[in-house]
Symmetry: D2
C-alpha cells in the first residue's frame, strides 16, 4: 500500500473540514492554537514514516499520553492494575463523578480522567517518577529527544485543575489512591503537557501494531496485553463517542483535547492525525474525518 | 486453519466451566434448560460448517435476533434508523430506563431492549410483519426450515413483559414509536422466541463475515454497512460487559439470555456457542470462555 | 381574623402576576383556559367560606385530587399503604422514572404520578371503584353535586397518557400494581379530570384543618393521620418546588397543573387559589404569590 | 405545659430504644462514645431550661452547627447566599456528588455537606473567621463558655476528609468557592468539632422559636428569615429522612452524626435530644423516637 499517496488524498478530501469545531478553551496554550492546522502521519511496522501537512509540528498530546501510561503501568506491574480500574465504556461525559460514586471509587476505564489518575498513581508507585518514565519511553520509541514537557501547559493545567483534584480526593476517600494527591496531580499534569508531532506519536505507538514489541525489538507487553490495550482503545478511547468512532472509523484510537488522535491497524501500521478544532465530544473534527477516509480508502478497518 | 480440531480443543478446555453460572429464570422455558449443555459451531465464508457438542440442538436465541433485525431494518430502510437510536455503549443495566429519560426517548444503541424495540418498530413499519420477515430471512440464510417460533416462550415473554411494555410506552411518550404498543410488543416477543441451533445461527450470520453478501451471493448490506454492524456489535453487543468482552475475546459478538453468543471474524468465519449458565451481566459463562480460547488458540482477534 | 378583607387585599397585590407563567399545554382543555383568571377562597373550620375573583368558577383539579385519594386510601385501608409508597421528597422532575428504578418500583411519595398510581391502585382494590369513591367524597364534603368528571379532559389525559402507562407497567414489573394496568389508568385519568371551584375545594379539604373530622363531624382520619398527610403535603406537595414553597409560604399545600393549589392552616382554615399560568415547576405563579401574601399578611405560617 | 414531667415521661418511654442503632464510625472520637447515653432538654422562649438524663453532658454537635452557620451567614450577608445554594431536599445520600454535578456546582440545600461548605465559605468571606464567629455566637446565646472546639475531633475529621475535599474542589471548578480550599476545609472541620450539651444547644437555638430574636433580645434575623430557616430545617434538616421526620415528628429539626437533634416549636420552645446510636439515614434512633413522643404527648406539632 502506498501510504504517502493515501495521506495526500486524505489531506485533500478533508480540507473543507479543517478549521471546523472549536479548539479546547480551558487553558490559554490550547485556546490560542491556530485552528486551521492539519497534519497526519503513518508509521508502518518496519519503522517507515509517511506524512502530510503539519506532520512534523509538535502539539499538545494531552489525553493521548494516557495510552502510553497504561502500557507502562501494565509493563511494570501487570494485571493487578485491573483491580483498581475497569474496562467498560463510560457512557457519560469524560469528567463525570457520577459513575465513580455509583461504583465506589473504581473508575470505569483507564482513559477517563479518573481512570488515568489511578493508572498514573500506580505507575508513580511502581517507578517513583511517572512523568519522567513516560517521557523517557516516548523519546526512546521515536528515537529522538523532541518529545518534551511544556511548562506553561503543565502550570495552566494545574491552575485549572479543580475538577481533577476533586476526582483524586474522591477516589482517595475510597482508598483507591496510594500517593499524596498533590504529588499525583503534578505527575498527571506533566504527562498531559508533553508536546509531540504526528510523526513522533505514530512512531511511539508502534508497539501496539507490533503485538507488544518496542522499537528496539525488545518486548514491552505480551501479544495478549497489546491486543487488550487495542480493545480498550476501541471501546473507551474517544470519550463518549467510542461507539460512533468504532462505527465510522473501525480502528482502536485514542484522542486528546489538543486535537490529536492516535490509531492502530494491528499488524500493519499506526497513524496519528492532528487538527485543533474539536467536536462536542472533544475529538478533532478533521481528525475523525481523516481516519474515516483512511479506512474507506484502504479498507484497513478491523471489521 | 483446521476449525474442527480447534473446536474439539476448545470443548475440552472449557469443560470445567460448563454448568457454571445460572440460566435465565424469568420465564419457565429458559429456567428449565439443562445448564450442562454446551455446543459450538463455526461457519466459514464458503459455507462449510464445523461443530462440537450440542451444536445441532435448537435453543432460544433471545437477544441474538436483535442483530438480524437491525440488519433487516437497515437493508429495508437505510440510515434514517440512526435518527431514532444511538450507537453508544449503554454503561448501564440492559433494561435501564435512566438513560432513556436523560436522552429524551432515544435509546443508546440497537441492542439494549429499548433500542431493539425501536428497530422492530421500524421494521414493522417497513415490512408490515417484522417477526415473519425475520424468520424468513433466518431460514433462507441457513438453508432450512428448522428456525421456528416457540409459542410457549413468546407467551411467557409476553406475560413477563411489563418492563418492555413500560419501555415502549415511555418511548411512545417521546414520539419514538410509530406502531401501536401492543402490536409492537407482539412482534418483539415473537422475535425473541425463535429457536435455532449453533450450526444454523453461524450460517445465518455469515453476511457479517462476508461484507454484506447473503448466502445466495446477493447483497443484503453494503460493505460499509456490514462493517458498521460489526462495530456496533463489538461496542454494544454483550450488555454491560462489552468492554470486558472486547478485552478478553476481541471479536464482534452478540449474546442472548438463552445462553447463546454469535461472533464474527470479518472475512473469515462466524461462530456460535451455546451454554445456558449466565454470568452477572447476562452472558454465557462457558460461551465467553470458549470464544476467549478461540482467539487465543487461533490468533483470530480483530486486534 | 377578617378573611374577606385579607382575600381582597391579596387579589389586589397579586394582580400584576396574574397572567404570568404558561398554562399546561399537553391537553387542549387545559391549554385553552384564559390565563388571566384568578380566584381564591378560604373555608374556616366552622364551615364559613370567603372568596374573591373567580372563586366559584369550576376548573380542572388535576393533581390536587391526589391528596383526597391518599386520605381515602388511608381511611379505608390504613398504614399498609406505606409499604408500597415512600414519604420522601422526590428531588426530581415529577414524572421521573429514574428514582423509581433505583428504588425498585417503590415511588418516593404519594404525590408524584407514580405514587398516585399506587395509591389509586390500592383504593381501587379496597373499594372496587376508586374514581366514583373520590367523587362521592368530594360532593359530600362540599355539600353539593357540582364536583363532576370532565369527559373531555379524561379522554385527553388518556390519549396523552403514554408516560403514565409506562410508569404503571414499570411498577407492575416490580409487583407493585395489583389491578390490570388499563383499568388502573382509567380510574387515574378520571380522578384527574374532576372539575371543582376554589370554594368547593376549600370546603372539601377542611378535614385536614379539622384534625381528621369530616364536614358531618364523623371521623375520616385519626388526628395523627391528618397531621401526617399535612406533613407529606408540606414536603412533597408542590412537585420539585416543595422546599421553595415551604420557604416562601410555610403551609402544607398541594398543587395541580390546572393552576389550582390547596393549602392548610391546621386548626384554622383551608385555602384554595386558582390561576392557570404555571412556573417551570408546574405550580401556579399567581397562586404561589397569593399564598405567600396570605402568610405574610396574617402571620399564619406553620413556622 | 409542664415540660419537666413531659421529659421524664419521654425518657421512660424511649428507654427500650436507647442503645439501638450504631454510633458513627468514621472517626475514633465518635466511634468510642457509649451508645447507651441519652439526654434531652427543652428551653422555652423565656429562657427556662428543663432536662432529663445526660442533658448537661457535652457531645459532638457535628452537622447541627450547620443551622447556626446558616443563620450567621444570612445575618451578616443576607439573601445573596441563595444564589449559591438551593433550598430543595436532596433526595440522595448526604455526601452525594451526583446532584452537584447535574446542577453545575450549586448544592441543593445548606444542610448537605456541599451546601454547608458554601455557607461556611460565605461566612468566612464575610467575617474573616467563620469558626471563631460561630463559637462566639453559641457561647453568647447559651450564656456560658462551655461550648468549645474539640481538637481531636477536628483533626480526625480533617484526616478523614477526602470526600469533603473532593466536594470543595469540585464546587471550586464551577466557581462556587471563593476561599482557598484548605482554609475553607479547616473552618468547616473546626465547626463540626464543637462540643455542647443538650441544655446549651436548646438555649442557643432559641432565636428560631423567638422569630429571630437573640438571647439579649437584639434581632439576629427578621421574622421572615427565622421562619424561612425553620422551613429549610423541616424539608432538609435530617439528611434523606426529612419526609419521614416531618411525617413522624412534624417539627423543624436538624440532626448530627454525633447523635444530637435540635428541634423547634415556633413561638413556644426549642428542644435538643442526644443519643449516639444512629439509623441508616444518620439520625439518632432514640432521638427521633423521643421527638415523636414529644409531639404525640403534647400535640405540639406544626401540623
Amino acid at each position: 500500500m502506498n501510504y504517502q499517496s493515501v495521506l495526500e488524498r486524505i489531506a485533500e478530501d478533508v480540507a473543507p473540514q479543517v478549521g471546523h469545531g472549536t479548539p479546547a478553551e480551558y487553558i490559554p496554550a490550547l485556546a490560542s492554537v491556530d485552528p486551521h492546522r492539519f497534519g497526519m502521519a503513518i508509521a508502518d511496522v518496519d519503522g517507515n514514516v509517511y506524512g502530510v501537512g503539519d506532520w512534523r509540528q509538535p502539539f499538545s498530546t494531552q489525553s493521548i499520553t494516557k495510552v502510553f501510561t497504561l502500557a507502562l503501568a501494565l509493563a511494570h506491574g501487570g494485571d493487578d492494575l485491573w483491580e483498581r480500574v475497569g474496562r467498560e465504556p463510560s457512557g457519560n461525559p469524560f469528567n463525570s463523578l457520577v459513575q465513580l460514586e455509583y461504583e465506589s471509587g473504581i473508575p470505569r476505564n483507564p482513559f477517563i480522567n479518573a481512570g488515568a489518575l489511578v493508572v498514573t498513581d500506580r505507575l508513580l508507585t511502581l517507578t517513583g517518577d511517572a512523568s519522567r518514565e513516560l517521557l523517557e519511553f516516548l523519546r526512546q520509541e521515536c528515537g529522538n529527544d523532541r518529545p518534551s514537557f511544556d511548562t506553561e501547559v503543565a502550570e495552566s493545567e494545574s491552575a485549572a485543575g479543580s475538577r481533577n483534584a476533586a476526582l483524586a480526593h474522591f477516589m482517595a476517600s475510597y482508598g483507591n489512591i496510594a500517593n499524596p494527591v498533590p504529588t499525583l496531580l503534578d505527575h498527571y499534569f506533566w504527562q498531559c503537557s508533553i508536546e509531540m508531532s504526528c510523526a513522533d506519536l505514530a512512531l511511539a505507538a508502534r508497539f501496539l501494531a507490533r503485538h507488544g514489541l518496542r522499537a528496539d525489538d525488545s518486548r514491552l507487553l505480551s501479544r495478549s496485553e497489546a491486543k487488550q490495550i487495542n480493545a480498550v482503545m476501541l471501546t473507551c478511547g474517544t470519550y463518549d463517542a467510542a461507539g460512533e468512532f468504532a462505527y465510522r472509523v473501525g480502528l482502536p484510537g485514542k484522542s486528546g483535547v489538543g486535537g490529536g488522535i492516535v490509531a492502530v491497524v494491528p499488524g500493519r501500521c499506526t497513524l496519528c492525525v492532528w487538527s485543533p478544532g474539536l467536536d462536542e465530544q472533544g475529538n478533532s473534527v478533521a481528525g475523525v474525518a481523516a481516519l474515516d477516509r483512511f479506512t474507506t480508502l484502504t479498507g484497513l478497518s478491523v471489521f
